[in-house]
């Protein structure tokens, strides 16, 4: 059975770089890997997506190895407001089954 896994939680301090890795062993061949941020009592918010190698936007970078069986979300210089749950989302099999990872609860401390 395909499984998408992430660390349950991570702690960091303001100003540090945080890297969160997601493992996905049955990802659909032609689909993107997408990451979301979720605050309590809100819907997830799109952060970044990529297909391979490295993608960077104004808030994060995403690293994807050639085999695409994992991806790493990198948050540079986190602040207290980055405290949230981070999810990876992949399409599995033929691409019509969307799967969120279990989520990584990031706590940023002052």
């Amino acid at each position: 059975l395909a499984k998408t896994t992430q660390p349950i939680s991570m702690d960091s301090y303001e100003g540090q770089e945080v890297n969160i890795t997601c493992s996905h062993n049955n990802i659909a061949t032609n689909d993107y890997i997408t990451w979301y941020q979720q605050f309590p009592s809100q819907g997830p918010r799109f952060i970044i997506q990529g297909y391979k190698t490295k993608v960077t936007n104004e808030v994060a970078s995403l690293f994807i190895p050639a085999d695409r069986k994992s991806s790493t979300l990198s948050l540079p210089r986190v602040s207290l407001s980055d405290t949230a749950v981070y999810y990876c989302l992949v399409a599995e099999g033929a691409g019509n089954m969307l799967t969120f990872g279990g989520g990584t609860r990031l706590m940023v401390k002052p």
């Binding site: 659909a28 032609n30 689909d31 993107y32 997408t34 979301y36 009592s41 809100q42 819907g43 997830p44 918010r45 799109f46 997506q49 297909y51 999810y87 989302l89 399409a91 691409g95 019509n96 089954m97 969307l98 799967t99 969120f100 990872g101 279990g102 989520g103």
Partner: protein, 115 residues
């Protein structure tokens, strides 16, 4: 521009009853997806619709059904409610499907409590 809207925001139902949840996507978006999020867990994919057709389905029983209307809004129906159906139901909209992108915009969700 309005984001994804969902109604109602909260709902309390009794076991065995039926419920209908509604979602309006962002203007210009033609795809709507539904997710169930149990407290403390990640969202679980239920359905994806595009141009009124089902394009994806998660591992949920037949008690769950959905449809999309010509204006791209959507309804999620759950019959014969069980206590385990208590969750936050999220709707997400996106431009389309089939291009491999899953950049979705989520609504605030409907909190369903089954007693």
């Amino acid at each position: 521009d309005a984001g994804v809207t969902q109604s109602p925001t909260h709902l309390i139902k009794t076991r065995g009853q039926q419920v209908t949840l509604r979602c309006s996507p962002i203007s210009g978006h033609k795809s709507v997806s539904w997710y169930q999020q149990v407290l403390g867990q990640g969202p679980q994919f239920i359905f994806q619709y595009y141009e009124k057709e089902e394009r994806g389905r998660g591992n949920f029983p037949d008690r769950f059904s959905a449809r999309q209307f010509p204006n791209y809004s959507s309804e999620l129906n759950v019959n014969a409610l069980l206590l385990g159906d208590s969750a936050l139901y999220l709707c997400a909209s996106s431009h389309g499907v089939g291009d491999g992108s899953y950049e979705q915009y989520f609504g605030p969700g409907t909190r369903l409590t089954v007693t």
